[in-house]
Amino acid sequence: MNFLNPEALVFAVTLPIVVVFYLLKRRRMVQLVSSTIIWKRFLNETQASSPFQKLRHNWLLIIQLVLLALAIFALIRPYFSGKSESGRFVVVILDISASMQATDVSLNRFEHAKAEVRKMIDGMYDNDEMILILSGGRTEVLQSPTSVKSILRKALDQAKVTDSPTRLLDAIKLSQNLTRNRSKVEVHLFSDGVSSDLDTFELQDLNLVYHRLGEGGDNLGIVSLEVRSSLEQSYEQSVFATIGNFSTNAMSSEVTLFFNDQMIGNRNLTVGPTNTASLVFSTNQSTNGVFRVRLKKDDVLKVDNVGSVMGLTRRNVDVLLITKGNIFLEKAIRSIGDVDLIVKSSLTDSDPKVDVVVLDSIRPSVWPMGNVMAINTQSTNWFQPSGLLEDPPIVDWKTTHPLLRFVNFDNIQVAQAVNSELPTWMSPIVESSSVPLIAIGENDGQRALWVGFNPLDSTWPLRVSFPIFIANAIDWLNPKIVTNLRVGEPFSMRMLDKDSMVLVTLPDGEIVQTPTTGNGELVFADTLQQGVYHVKSGTNKISFCVNLLDGVESDIEAKDILELGQYGRVEATVQLDTNKELWRWFAIICLLLLMFEWWFYHRRTA
């Protein structure tokens, strides 16, 4: 059995009240009388001797009749007819981005929006359908189309605001897809309009109603935060923070820096109206830890007053170069800062564990552990060369790939290259007309960079692009774990154990168990909260920080007009037309009348 309006069960409270009324023992006044004979006769006469009696004027009767009439009236659920029509398909998009946490309206914008949506649900006709969509950093269908108000209310109660930036575009596009080929469509957007991605959307026939939430107010927010190690001193770290003022008045605040929850710096900062100001904290921290910047200013949006960033001490990359002798390559590697290079002529089992192994014209019997750069390597289980190719021209290279950043192959000639087919997990990034010259790939968690020619057989070592490429290659082969993310960005890192369970502790203390992928990679995407996340896998622990750092989100001025694409404009509506049922009022009047009747009855007999 389902109930359309289970909230009405709250009126069940009146049942025990009525019982309590009857439980109250009436205290009778003791009266000595000459004789009870006449009283007995009086009582006998007043008791019903016939099934009907003459109807007399009695206020109690009138009150009870009114009471019953009101109860019946409430049961038939009367309502005022609004502008809504029956049989509608209503899409409700609820903004759950960080700016909805602004407290410029009672409670906050999000709770206000929920209240508005609740009213809309209450005003639905029985044959109306509604779908609830949450729009934050990600778009999520909270409730599929239904006419059952209790389900919609329950789903709405589960909606929570996040710390993520607003991405209204996806939600609007989704609603457009959902409402295609449907009639009587209404799309209601409950938002503050703070979204930067609406320019690309062309509003066509979508009946979009924008319910603006929020009044705007003074807000100071952290819009960027970064920590960098000094190039000279590895233990010297600088924390850069940019504070934005999104009000029309100059605002000042104390900015405090914490390292692992210990205050290590405090400054007063004044930011001009609609302006930003930067500050730098220099610290000497020899250990890894979390820097946290906090604005003390009490403004309407709290979420952007705090930012956290991981401070990691610099560590050199260990590179093992196996070569018969390549001065250019060795110099190029040594020229990269933060690299500890070991040069050997052959690959042995006793080689130390390093981050990157560079094989220069060496054919390994077994590929070494770790990431590998293989230069001019032939006849292995990965590559089966079919011969040499003389003077291959370089015809194409992927300039957008991070490996080839600032690398140009325009004036490079190669004398000969290995004519080899690539394994399936590799893809070329520099190609000749028929063969790949440089290829990259990842095999079972191991990154590999293959150069299909000897640089000494080319003009490349004489070009500036060579050391740049080597530097890029060492960077790519030694990927750094990104420990500072924006809200909604996934965190990924390679774990040693494959198919193991990793415990991630969220900023609010909740612990989430996440499995690693088949190749030992952890991808954690539930980063909708701002703060520090702790990952634990066996005895290994790592932390990463998630921040809002979004100037658009911090600018909490609610937009009166939503500009969609080049021409689309949706103005905010102020009032929501809904069918307002009146039965609750009648029920309340019934209750009051019941109480009045009780009082009246006792007053009359007192």
Partner: protein, 304 residues
Amino acid sequence: MPINPEVMETLISNDLMKRLEQLQLLAQRRSKSSSKGERRSRARGYSVEFADYRNYVPGDDLRRIDWNLFGRLGRLFLKLYEEERELPVTIYLDASESMLFGEVTKFDFARQVAAAIGYVSLCGFDRVTVEPFPLVDSQKSLAGELRSVRGRHSSIRFFDNLNQLKVGGAGDLNQVLRLGSIKHRDPGIVVVLSDFLNLDGYEAGLRSLTNRGSDLHAVQILAEEELEPSTYGDLKLIDSETGAEQEVTFGKYRLKTYQMTVHKYCQRLRDFCQARGIHYQMAQSNTPIDDFLLKAMRSGGMWR
């Protein structure tokens, strides 16, 4: 022990007493009492009222022969005169606990009425008996002194005795009247002063009195509180005589219904009395006694 004559005034004022002295009890039937008195009777005796003639028989008193008639007719006739006998007046006075209610208690009112009737009777040389009931042991001697009181000179003691009567206990009206009808066989005037609020009713008692050929008067005395109760709300009523409890919810809105019930109760008694030739009077205990005695009782055929 000498009795202060002022005791009479506690029951009946001097003015009222003087007016009562001018009244005479009305008896519809001739007295059948065996004692001499001042009331006409069917018996023949030696009064001045001529009654009849009868033939002379030897042994008759020669002084009573009508010699004028003997002169005219030559036959001896004896002249007969009416015998004047006393009129017994019996007053049943309800002294049960229920009579203790009212601003002027019902018992006080009844005692005043009894005193007035007794005084008129004593002035008329009739024999007065007051039967208070229920009779507690301490008052038995007092009740004895209230029996067969005669002569105006006895009125002070009569009043004093009446004054000393106390209220208490539960009275059984029917039994008292039944016993009274056996005890006082001579027909005369019988007055019942009561509220007639008895569990067992009053019919059997009154019926037993009617069999004796007396002139019966029933005076029902009710307190104002019984006619128009002023206490409202959820009440637990306790019967003063039996201690029985009765729960009732009473409000102003039910007053009329209650008064209707009282009226019906009284009307039933009135109808019962009328059907049996009993004079019925209803009095509220706070009615001025003068008005009741001189107007209501006179119009009710008690005296003239």
